[in-house]
């Protein structure tokens, strides 16, 4: 038994796919301002493919989330494909191997973060999705004693705060880094989609 059920993992992916669909235009528009105007369509293409997976055919949440990660790698491309793909692949591995309480989820989140850091060679403060995910993992850790639900809510809030704080930064990784000073004041698309992912987790994995 892992920290969440396969059904919960499925609900998370379904919810995120829907949220991404609803926010694709907004994400692409953010990417228009500091990148190449495709982050929303990239994520949407990927999550549509993920949403088409048959949840009932997977016998563990890790198996499902691993397939989701591979599906993202195979369908998204760009920077976000390998990064989100790696996130889910690592998350999945740690989840199935971890304990069945909040600390299991924490381990999975941390593994996902480390995967993104390794793949993208970026760190906090570079104005990327890491600026939403890293504070979220921290907040989850701080609150994990209060149970998964409270920890996820705190994580989602921290992600949003991290996303907003990153807006004032100068990008040092990814396409936005070419803008130098001009990236200041623009909200990062990846940090935005990452915040949506954690908000979606809070909605769907809370009762774990």
């Amino acid at each position: 038994m892992a920290a969440i059920s396969t059904e919960q993992a499925g609900a998370w992916l379904a919810d995120y796919a829907q949220v991404i669909g609803e926010n694709a235009a907004m994400l692409t528009d953010l990417d228009r301002q500091t990148g190449d105007a495709d982050h929303g369509s990239n994520m949407d293409r990927g999550m549509k493919a993920v949403a088409a997976l048959d949840v009932s055919s997977f016998d563990s949440p890790g198996a499902l989330l691993k397939k989701a990660g591979m599906t993202l790698v195979s369908n998204v491309g760009g920077a976000s494909g390998p990064l989100y793909g790696t996130f889910f692949l690592r998350f999945a591995g740690a989840l199935d191997d971890g304990p069945d309480d909040a600390s299991g989820l924490l381990g999975a989140l941390r593994a996902g973060l480390e995967g993104i850091e390794q793949r993208g060679k970026a760190e906090r403060g570079d104005k990327t999705m890491i600026d939403a995910l890293a504070p979220a993992v921290e907040a989850f850790e701080t609150q994990s004693g209060a149970g998964t639900s409270a920890a996820l809510t705190a994580a989602a809030k921290a992600a949003a705060r991290g996303r907003d704080e990153a807006t004032d930064l100068i990008a040092r990784k990814g396409r936005a880094s070419y803008l130098g000073e001009r990236s200041k004041g623009k909200q990062d698309p990846g940090a935005t989609s990452m915040t949506l992912l954690l908000e979606s987790a809070a909605r769907t994995l809370g009762s774990a």
Partner: protein, 333 residues
């Protein structure tokens, strides 16, 4: 948005249908995977060359598949790097036993997707894969606090030169070393008069006033280093050539020069620009041995141009002059 398309989501798939219909003699298209193959790939004993990247840069890369150049091009969505599955499939398909070189332009997405593909290829298929990452864009001056210099125009020259070497039968190590040499000796700088519109986005990526231009652009319609006052061609040429020459020594060796259009600028303007560029190069003591003027690596319908200069050698010129038969470059055959 005014484009000759049907559904924005189908642009790449449908363009590949056109490529397949137009060039059945030279190309084979895997529509499922969005890979364009040289008709006669794999060639036994020849190092396989594959490249790929987001679409919207045509003729790059599919237009450079053929004798004397690439064996396969992996086509991503518009401005989105292809996925590792594509590079994996292409790698396996073009390997003729001599290994495969991945030609990657330095963008975060491209680098990561190709990296994953190389890791997977090494694990799964046993094909020896090497990679060269092009990064010739002098507009990116700071590579510590950025994703590093972008791969732009030199990629085209590299695919031609390295393609000739592979065709000649050189082994993977030699081909890789040559690719590195070409990348190390080439520099580019680009500018835009207008933005472009990604089909799926529907609105122009950036805005420019009537009296402004964007200097130091890449090839994804992303804004450049700075927005500056629109200037006459003569001054624009200066603004492009100076940073290129400042970054590398191009004197004392023959140079290959490319004056490239971004997709929406007509040939008459590109030739006019080339005239200005050639004059500056002459005054700077750069001896142009070969040149290309036209649309070779583009950003959809963006108006603008870029200048690429490659410090060559007699050997590179010989490889440059070797026969090539692709839809984008053709001579000697």
């Amino acid at each position: 948005m005014k484009k000759l398309i049907n559904d924005p989501a189908d642009v790449v798939a449908e363009a590949l249908k056109g490529v397949a219909a137009a060039h059945p003699d030279r190309l084979r298209v895997d529509h499922e995977q969005k890979i364009v193959y040289r008709r006669d790939a794999p060639r036994q004993g020849k190092v396989g060359l594959i490249s790929g990247g987001g679409s919207g840069h045509e003729p790059m890369h599919a237009g450079y598949v053929g004798l004397g150049m690439l064996d396969a091009a992996c086509c991503g969505e518009v401005f989105t790097s292809p996925v590792p599955d594509q590079m994996m499939a292409a790698t396996t398909a073009v390997d003729g036993g001599a290994g495969v070189l991945h030609i990657v332009k330095n963008y975060t997405g491209d680098v990561m997707n190709f990296e994953m593909a190389a890791e997977m290829a090494a694990a799964d298929s046993g094909v020896r894969v090497e990679s060269v990452v092009t990064n010739d864009d002098v507009a990116v001056t700071d590579s510590l606090y950025t994703a590093g210099r972008r791969g732009v125009g030199v990629t085209v020259l590299l695919e031609k030169i390295v393609g000739a070497a592979a065709e000649e039968g050189r082994d993977l190590d030699a081909v890789l070393a040559l690719a590195q040499q070409v990348n190390d000796n080439g520099r580019s700088m680009g500018m835009a008069l207008t933005s472009c519109t990604v089909p799926a986005a529907g609105t122009p990526t950036f805005e420019l006033a009537d009296d402004e231009m964007e200097l130091g652009i890449g090839i994804h319609g992303e804004p450049g280093r700075s927005t500056v006052k629109l200037a006459p061609a003569r001054e624009i040429a200066q603004q492009l050539v100076e940073p290129v020459l400042a970054d590398h020594d191009f004197t004392g060796a023959p140079a290959i020069v490319m004056l490239n259009g971004m997709g929406g600028t007509p040939l008459i303007e590109l030739y006019l620009m080339y005239g200005e560029v050639a004059q500056i190069l002459r005054k700077s003591g750069v001896e142009v041995a070969r040149c290309l003027v036209g649309n070779y690596i583009t950003s959809l319908e963006m108006a603008g141009c870029s200048v690429t200069v490659l410090r060559a050698s007699d050997e590179l010129l010989k490889l440059w002059d070797a026969p090539v038969n692709t839809t984008g470059l053709r001579w000697g055959v």
